[in-house]
Subunit: 150 residues, 2 copies
DNA sequence: GAAATATGTTAGTCTTGCTTAACTTTGTTA
DNA sequence: TAACAAAGTTAAGCAAGACTAACATATTTC
């Protein structure tokens, strides 16, 4: 079996996700970048990197750059996918402010079961699909009811 | 000011919620009941009770029963309300199994911002309202699309 | 290329929340 | 009522994750 079931803590998932984001943004990732982005101090990052490296999810040479392993990359993408889906749900469907949507997505992206996140994904797809093609009355009603533009 | 902004941890919110449930079910609440319900050992409960008592959220005499204070009762009800709303959303709208719905609700009930949970509450109300009065076509489509009855 | 600055790591501490083992108190029952 | 069982508490310890202070390595810059 290629990938043994890593049961990562929410915290470690957050670190992985941020590493993936920084890699996308800047190409390379350093302790300092992570520390700034996550509002933690550098020693906390070092400790987290040791933990992730010991699980084979990142590669990290002392004083050097940090990179995701294949396995780590895969996990990070899964988390990010849930995160983005949740953000879309909160913003596009519920009309929550970007700020709250991001914050809430960050917190619950680690807790949803596979079953629930898949079904929620379907809901988002369905609603966005219909929202795109001249919104039917019921979606307008819904948005008004929820108070999207209050 | 009557109630200073208690920023409770997710764990402490769980204890409060369980105390409220047990009080409803049995009338009185003991350490043993909480320990059984939450799958933790009794010393963990004792520690948690000391913490909640020091915050004025419960009353607890040594070797005696546990009861919610007015403030604790209020908080517990708020958590339970979010919990129930989430469970309904997962089950009634998404068609998630009761088991996953309960588990997921338990985990994220502590993390949602006020803004998001209020709007989600509105969504649930809106959809349930329309589901009740001979479900319109779009709701059927939605449920099929999500795969509610797969 | 040496000094100054930026970045990274180590060591030690704190908090939260859990555990086990041992002890105390309360309740039951013969 | 004495003894046993059930429930509660205390003490000690562990693990995750965060922090500060101090030290080590890289990178700039003059």
């Amino acid at each position: 079996m290629a990938s043994q079931k890593h049961k990562l803590s929410a915290n470690m998932e957050d670190y992985l996700e941020v590493i993936a984001m920084l890699k996308d943004e800047k190409g390379v990732v350093r302790v300092k970048d992570i520390s700034d982005r996550m509002n933690v101090k550098k020693p906390s990052v070092t400790a987290a990197m040791n933990s992730l490296a010991s699980k084979g999810l990142i590669e990290h040479e002392r004083y050097g750059y940090i990179d995701l392993s294949v396995e780590g990359e895969k996990l990070a993408r899964e988390v990010k996918e849930r995160h983005d889906m949740l953000t879309r749900f909160f913003m596009d469907i519920l009309g929550v402010s970007e700020n709250s949507a991001e914050t809430d997505a960050c917190k619950i992206e680690h807790s949803l079961s596979k079953e629930t996140s898949e079904k929620l994904m379907h809901l988002v797809e369905y609603l966005e699909m219909h929202a795109g093609e001249r919104p039917p009355q019921w979606l307008k009603n819904l948005n008004e009811y929820i108070g999207k533009n209050k």
